[in-house]
Symmetry: C2
Subunit: 384 residues, 2 copies
Amino acid sequence: MSVTAAAGFEAAGVEAGLRSGEGPDLALVVNRGPSAAAAAVFTSNRCTANPIIWSKQVIKDGVVSAIVLNSGGANCYTGMLGFQVVHETAEAAGRVLDLSPGDVLVCSTGLIGEQLDSTKLVAGVARAAGALAEDGGGSAARAIMTTDTRPKQAVRRGSTGWTVGGMAKGAGMLAPGLATMLVVITTDADVESADLDAALRAATRVTFDRLDSDGCMSTNDQVTLLASGASGVAPDPDEFQALLVDLCRDLALQLQSDAEGAAHDVAIEVRNAADEDDAVEVGRAVARSNLFKAAVFGNDPNWGRVLAAVGTTKAAFDPFGIDVAMNGVQVCRAGQPDQPRTLVDLTERAVSVVIDLHAGEASATVWTNDLTHDYVHENSAYAS
Amino acid sequence: MSVTAAAGFEAAGVEAGLRSGEGPDLALVVNRGPSAAAAAVFTSNRCTANPIIWSKQVIKDGVVSAIVLNSGGANCYTGMLGFQVVHETAEAAGRVLDLSPGDVLVCSTGLIGEQLDSTKLVAGVARAAGALAEDGGGSAARAIMTTDTRPKQAVRRGSTGWTVGGMAKGAGMLAPGLATMLVVITTDADVESADLDAALRAATRVTFDRLDSDGCMSTNDQVTLLASGASGVAPDPDEFQALLVDLCRDLALQLQSDAEGAAHDVAIEVRNAADEDDAVEVGRAVARSNLFKAAVFGNDPNWGRVLAAVGTTKAAFDPFGIDVAMNGVQVCRAGQPDQPRTLVDLTERAVSVVIDLHAGEASATVWTNDLTHDYVHENSAYAS
């Protein structure tokens, strides 16, 4: 499953003792080739973690042989010492795997502003290298969990004998720009790094970038795509792109459904926008309205809060030409009440909001969650 | 007190039966002159309520003789019928007060997308006109409350025999753009409407516009300044501006301290920004981070969430040149941990966050609240 579904990859998840509790907290994914082509996208947060600074250098030549991922600390705003810890981690992986440290990506997640214990990290890398297995994907997917309640994995099979699989972690600080989570995707298709890069950017733009659980952009997020070429198949580019989008959407929706404290998964579809940017801006504004999100938690179809959020955007629309439907009930048409809000049933976890701007032909869907007591509880107690 | 502290004004608050519960829900403020100069600022939300659409026309000539304010319904997205209700309200006030309806402002607050009962409104206006009193300010301030737990009032006295006083309501949907609340300020100073407008805009820019309790911009908000000239004094412009800013800040902080469900009042001071816009952008980004706000609720000095929010802005700064202090403890210096976070005591209601960007000489303070269980509860149950 997941990152070892494609041929040419091994993975492992082990306990390195970085977290306060028990359980695995370090994952290793290795590409055995023959190719080591790779692409990655990173958070656009300007306050970036040390592993991001490191990984942006590593990915420049499009060659990656291994990824180390740890929970138990973000290694962000930890200064030069923190950067040294990343460097030591990559060197440790290079040493035990007989690779160049410059071909090792590092991803970290956890609390900002606390130093990671490099001794534990280095020992953990060695232990993970010893546990590498061709069916280690599930073990790796569990080791990158933090407040996640379940591992996130997905696999797709191409029609010409190649496979793409992936794992993801992320339950809070889920907002794009880009990424907002740790994701590793592997394929045994034979694709060059420049093509991987284009395909990955196109896929994340309409999947992970459209997930906006709590409006908070992380400092550490990274989505990586590794290609081993072990299938010997160069896939049809359109099929490769389509399956990659499908896989990324699958993982993004798994992240949504496990978001911290969430009781509803909300899909905000914006139709007939002047352009795609407008559609995303409107969807995101609604996804970031705490009042709307609290109303959804209370099963309250308060569509006025949808319009109040739409009205804060610069998107093209006539304020009195907007339609809003919630779970199929047309609560607002042309800026006036239409069907009674009492017809809307919000008791199920899945919630659909459709906003028709009547301003063009573009559309986009943004996924978010409701604002709940459990969200407040989990995030007021995270550091303790 | 409040809107009747200045000479030349009468006010009343009555029960019009617009709200589901008992209690006053309609306020009337009348300027008896000799001057009827006025200025107003409105929400920048593009989805505006009918009373906003009406009031923007009324204020154009800088002449206002009366304001009707109701709770129990926002009269927003209620179509042509909703606009007609505003018109009838102004006409009713004009009739009973012998004024032009075109000199009557209307403000409404409550649920979006529900029609107000115009019969009740018109009867309420007549009842309020009969109850007008030179000491009616307190009664009016209570009648505009919705989820507010207490009336908000403030008065300042000029050094040359003039007075400025005001009342405000607002407990949720508190984010600027501008206004985000209903505020009426009156003065007996003799000031022309153009000067009132300039003074009001300058004052709201650094007070109500810097209050960002929950990031949600309202469709109905309005801050109005009425001048009767009854003191016969033309105030020193600098003193008038200074007292108006002081009064607006007082009312804004009263709104902050009564924000729905809040357990902490947070002042985010951004220092040494390249310009004031940068300082406000950074302060607002932190004020809108649900993760930061939930951490404050949990008395958790999670300064990483401050930096993660700062990193989402376009403001000028070196990510490794930022200092952060919380309640006087320098938790981060030059992007690295400094004093231990365990020294920060967040048990008091007032919380201070100081962010030094080291990028210039501008500064700004944004006021917000924490994200609490009570906020989620109140806003998930509002419509019911």
